[in-house]
């Protein structure tokens, strides 16, 4: 179990008679960058909420960081990091206040926070801006800071929900370089995106259609299997099969 960050076996979530997530099964290895793709309404967010310990499955089995999603969801919350485009940092707190706030929630000591904060700010070249309100930072800096904050407490797994939406192409790439580095340090990265070129940066990707996982492979394997040149074409071919309209 040591080398598996996430496992799911026939994981299902129903809302009344609507099956949002329909018996999905897969494993994500430690240190892997796993792309979780799907059309709007395919069930990605519902699945992600179960993995983050925020929503109980209807049936099936799943573990995150070795913890059971039914009985150990509080332990899961402690061992993961999370960031999304919509919610990441508090605009009306300064850079350093955001770091202290999040690290404090995860129970880090003041001393550990101080030492690590210096290191992070240096790496992001944000030392001069540490007392600036996050709301006044350019979006690209904010997103890179948000990612660093999400992995500040050294979680085993970080969940990224469309982390690069609307970000300029240079910053988007700097962001992915941060992702690569985190994965290199053994953090498992579980990421959703609408940018199909970013799907290519993942070690493996899954594509959800109507609550099910329709395909799961390396980007190269997927393209080869479907005989197409890009992940965009793979996605269009698979997602076209969807019968469910968005929820």
């Amino acid at each position: 179990m040591q080398d598996r960050a996430i496992t799911a076996e026939k994981l299902t979530k129903k809302f009344g008679d609507f099956t949002a997530v329909d018996q999905i099964s897969f494993e994500v290895s430690k240190g892997e960058i796993f792309g979780f793709l799907g059309a709007n309404g395919a069930g990605k967010t519902t699945a992600m909420r179960m993995f983050c310990g925020l929503s109980l499955p209807t049936s099936g089995v799943a573990t995150v960081g070795g913890f059971d999603v039914y009985s150990e969801n509080e332990k899961i919350k402690n061992s993961i990091g999370y960031m999304s485009q919509r919610f990441s940092l508090y605009d009306d707190l300064s850079v350093i206040e955001n770091i202290r706030f999040y690290a404090g929630i995860y129970g880090m000591s003041s001393k550990a926070i101080r030492v690590k904060a210096e290191h992070i700010l240096k790496g992001l070249e944000l030392e001069a801006e540490k007392n600036m309100l996050v709301g006044s930072l350019p979006l690209g800096w904010k997103q890179k800071l948000a990612f660093s904050v999400a992995i500040f407490h050294e979680p085993r797994i970080v969940f990224l929900d469309e982390p690069t939406g609307g970000v300029d192409p240079i910053t988007r790439r700097e962001f992915w370089q941060l992702i690569y580095e985190a994965a290199g340090e053994g953090i498992t990265v579980f990421v959703t995106t609408h940018y199909m070129d970013e799907a290519e940066y993942c070690n493996r990707v899954s594509i959800m259609v109507d609550g099910r996982i329709e395909a799961l492979d390396t980007p190269t394997g997927m393209k080869k299997h479907m005989g197409v040149g890009s992940m965009n074409e793979v996605f269009l071919q698979l997602a076209r099969k969807a019968t469910r309209t968005e929820n």
């Binding site: 970000v167 240079i170 269009l236």
Partner: protein, 300 residues
């Protein structure tokens, strides 16, 4: 002259300290009937430009005209002749799909019946839900309803502010197919997007970043103007390869690009020396390569 003309428009927003320059000396002419894409990230100034052209905001300096009408003097007439779909969903959430559409037709003194041919293609996708309140619709459905409402008075010019943001690749493709068919009706369309891959679907595009228009041309001309040799590189350890490329004297800059890295060469005559297990091929630049290159020039 119809279409859109923008002469030296600038706009700033006051901040606690100093000001935020949202648009800097924008010059642009969009001929009647063109499908024009305004491409840039969040904060580039796209929405500010839309708000000026739709007469919702006054520029600090410069002038603009839409359908031959001045955005400051003739604002009442412009409002009758343009359709505007803002980035944020702005229809009435407690009215049904049908009620929203009828409402917008009524305030423009027309009827759904009169211009049904214009919205038919998009509206038929949401018609099964016509009795549903707009607030209950999914993102993709809301987007289609908003387009229907922006079209129902048969505007000469249509402004669409990031209609495909946060929308999946399949719905994005469908939406662009709808725009192509509206263009065929002779409507001038200005559409903004943060997705660089949508550039190829426009007649011409403007690349905008931090309030400056970095380039305006057809996607093909922009690619032709790239002017540097571009290599696509792939190897077993991509992170290490990227660092290696970024440190090379022969490489101006290198960045991840899908399953490859792209390396822009300083001089086409000097190829970087790479081990035999590294796959290297020369490629044509994409709009995203052009955008990155222009960003570097403008920042530099």
């Amino acid at each position: 002259m119809n279409g859109i003309t923008i002469n030296n428009i600038s706009k700033s927003y006051p901040l606690k300290k100093g000001k935020q320059e949202a648009l800097k000396n924008i010059e642009l002419t969009i001929p009647e009937g063109e499908l024009f894409g305004l491409i840039g990230p969040d904060g580039a100034g796209k929405t500010t430009l839309f708000r000026i052209l739709t007469t919702l905001l006054l520029p600090d300096s410069g002038t603009a005209s839409v359908n031959g009408l001045d955005t400051t003097k003739d604002f009442m007439q412009i409002r009758k002749e343009v359709g505007y779909m803002p980035g944020r969903f702005s229809l009435y959430t407690d009215l049904t799909v049908e009620e929203n559409l009828n409402f917008f037709a009524n305030i423009f003194n027309t009827s759904v019946k009169e211009n049904y041919h214009l919205i038919k293609e998009v509206y038929k996708m949401i018609e099964p839900f016509k009795k549903v309140r707009a607030g209950k619709l999914s993102g993709g459905m809301k987007q289609k309803l908003a387009l229907s409402c922006a079209l129902i008075h048969k505007p000469k010019t249509l402004f669409l502010d990031e209609p495909t943001t946060g929308v999946d690749a399949v719905s994005r493709k469908e939406f662009w197919e709808l725009l192509r068919s509206l263009r065929a009706e002779g409507i001038t369309i200005m559409v903004s997007t943060p997705y660089m891959d949508e550039a190829s679907l426009c007649d011409r595009v403007g690349l905008i970043q931090q309030g400056s228009m970095m380039g305006v041309d057809t996607p093909q001309h922009l690619r032709n103007a790239f002017g540097k040799k571009l290599l696509s590189v792939k190897g077993p350890d991509m992170l290490q390869l990227l660092r290696q490329l970024q440190a090379m004297d022969t490489v101006e800059h290198a960045y991840p690009f899908g399953e490859y890295h792209h390396a822009v060469l300083k001089d086409a005559a000097f190829l970087p020396e790479l081990p035999a297990n590294i796959e290297v091929k020369e490629v044509e630049p994409d709009i995203e390569d052009c955008f990155i290159s222009l960003m570097r020039t403008h920042a530099g």
